[in-house]
Subunit: 268 residues, 2 copies
Amino acid sequence: MDQPIGVIDSGVGGLTVATELMRQLPKEQLIYLGDTLRCPYGPRPKEEVIQYTMEMVNFLLKKNIKLLVIACNTATAFTLDLLRETLDIPVIGVIQPGARAAIKVTQQMRIGVIGTEGTIVSKAYPEALHSVHSDIEVYDLACPRFVPMVENGVLEGDEAYQVVKETLQPLKEKQLIDTLILGCTHYPLLKDTIQAVMGNDVTIISSGEETAREVSAILGYQELLYEGERLPEHAFYTTGSWQVFAHIASQWLEIPITTLETAYLTTA
Amino acid sequence: MDQPIGVIDSGVGGLTVATELMRQLPKEQLIYLGDTLRCPYGPRPKEEVIQYTMEMVNFLLKKNIKLLVIACNTATAFTLDLLRETLDIPVIGVIQPGARAAIKVTQQMRIGVIGTEGTIVSKAYPEALHSVHSDIEVYDLACPRFVPMVENGVLEGDEAYQVVKETLQPLKEKQLIDTLILGCTHYPLLKDTIQAVMGNDVTIISSGEETAREVSAILGYQELLYEGERLPEHAFYTTGSWQVFAHIASQWLEIPITTLETAYLTTA
């Protein structure tokens, strides 16, 4: 079906999901909207996250999307159920796919989750894990220093290593976990550093990859895959500066951006 | 939702899928039906595979299943579309999940597929791969000696190694592929031997694991997951000898089987 897939995020972190969607579903067209102006969502109150997310959803619905990906963990935690009830297109969040992937790989049934304050306080990951498997032990940890660090482009080197090491100390000690969910779409950009700190015995789950697979499964199952031969033209929108957005997208993720516009969001 | 998941297979191979379902969805109840009496399906004509599969489906529909897993690649290749059109419950085959998982991991876009004659001749894997990604190079190979070997319990050692090595030679030489799909649910039982022959540079995709994840995704998406607290009681049916079935299940897969009965299949 030749309609685009909509992807929303609080900012640029969701580009890690978009990259995986392009890789795993190279025929599909994406419309990405990042609310860079109001990023981060992590420390904001629930009502505000819901309001901002609904504004983004309304913007994309006007673009005739066939499926919505909430590529932000905080927004998923607070709006997934609501959006599934109210929209008549499939809605995929980043939390359930990450949780399912972690259950697939854990051997000791001890899973760590790191994310923003909002995501961790919401307990969305423990709920998603326990809805599938009651006996999983979940160790969750808010990492408020990671998003600002990533937004400043500090992804590796001594400073990144020190911050990651200090932050993850509670999960690292006593070898509590064998699997760690990156419960924030910014964190895959720190994956190498996180893996170095946690050691190779811990399997790291990146929700972007897993979410792309779930999108693929749902599109296939619902017979919504595009099966023609046109090449996709992705469109990117940001509520903030498009220069910064374009810089980050090309520097970090090597996403070729041809269409990039500023989005002005309004309530309903 | 407290209805069982139905799993059908030509024999015991689908137990590799059932094991993964139990691991990834430990709250869900399974009803497994293996057509051991008429196994293997691989060399049979299409019409016969369709007829036998429909008989199995009718048997399970009377057990009030909420979702059907076709845990046999040959049956998936020949009946998935038909069953999706005619049944009003979700139907998951083993081919699409394996194809999607392979696309996720391949770096060089060169994927090998091994399976029965029926599965390979049907071209179901190349079609599934190309429907998602036009540029994938697919190298497929029928391995008619593997199922009889597995059914005879030859899973490792010199004989298994020799047969696997001779059979896979066309894929092994020239380092054609970086990913290999085990397109038959018997093959995961030979996984160690296949990995030894192909070398560690080739990532092996086992459709059982992937299918269980897709079942989890669809049940979650359709809000069909069981969320109560009762422990599951799985039921197993075979059209052949239950002694042989029970022996294989306990020897290979350590599946605890409490309920095992003989199924008498009839047309419609």
